[in-house]
């Protein structure tokens, strides 16, 4: 048993740009340390592996109390008022800002990250129920996605794994 590698499984349920990265970053770190990685994409999380959606993930400033002006270089702890967040273009603006900051840190876009994880041996699965509900097919997903599986399959294949829900 001592030779069994540690196993981590992530459940990605969110499709916003900021919520896409935690599993990708931790999953990549885990693979680099020799940990077995499985990622199950469910509900909005399917956007991360959906060819038509993956390059268009966004971060909305509305109802996000952590968004501060300081992110745009204005000092202090001043929040972006929610009423401003509903203005046309604010979501696109926040998204562009985040993408720029990530790029400066050398963090790849989500599409590339998914490919890196797949190449490094992560097992990527789409949730069957959500896939059926959204009328998607295997061809709609990025090549790194191995299969569409049920919740029960996921439970079976992650026996002994540490599970992180995002």
């Amino acid at each position: 048993m001592a030779d069994e590698p540690r196993k981590i499984a992530f459940i990605c349920s969110k499709g916003n740009l900021d919520m896409a990265y935690p599993a990708l970053i931790m999953g990549w770190a885990a693979l680099g340390n020799g940990v077995d990685v499985t990622i199950f994409f469910t509900f909005w999380g399917l956007d991360l592996i959906n060819k038509a959606r993956v390059d268009h993930l966004e971060i909305p400033p509305v109802a996000n109390t952590s968004m501060k002006m300081s992110m745009m270089g204005i000092p202090g702890n001043l929040g972006i008022p929610n009423i401003m967040g509903v203005l046309p273009g604010m979501t696109a603006f926040a998204t562009a800002l985040m993408k720029k900051k990530m790029n400066e840190l050398g963090v790849p876009p989500v599409r590339e990250y998914i490919q890196m994880l797949a190449d490094a041996g992560a097992k990527l699965y789409a949730c069957k129920m959500t896939v059926d509900m959204m009328g998607l097919k295997k061809e709609d997903f990025l090549d790194g996605v191995q299969d569409i599986v049920t919740a029960s399959d996921f439970i079976d294949m992650t026996e002994g794994a540490q599970i992180i829900f995002i």
Binding site: W28, L31, G32, G34, G106, G121
Partner: protein, 105 residues
């Protein structure tokens, strides 16, 4: 600090076995650390990665991250994980006589 002897040379290492002084490193030491990491023979492809890490590590003072290696050395992710299976991030850094990689990508 603990020490270990590789290829007849005694070097200082930290608790996790990473060499403390990159200047102590030699190719012979790399061969022995690789064996400890389960890599019996270092091929030309391994050396391409190790040489890149040495250059990058000595230039920046830090061990390069996996993505720095794949983009910088031009080694695809799949190949890197095949050359240094089960945890290339730490393995490569150890074999190259550098510290644990800093940075998340």
């Amino acid at each position: 600090m603990p020490t270990r002897t590789y290829a007849g040379k005694t070097v200082e290492v930290n608790e996790e076995g990473f060499m403390l002084n990159p200047a102590d490193w030699t190719k012979e030491i790399a061969v022995e650390i690789a064996k400890e990491e389960g890599i019996e023979t270092l091929t030309e492809a391994h050396w391409k990665v190790i040489d890149f890490c040495r250059q990058a590590g000595l230039a920046s003072g830090k061990a390069p991250t996996l993505r720095t290696i794949t983009t910088g050395a031009g080694v695809p992710t799949k190949e890197l994980f095949t050359l240094f299976p089960k945890g290339p991030a730490k393995k490569v850094a150890r074999i190259a006589g550098l510290g644990k990689p800093e940075g998340c990508v």
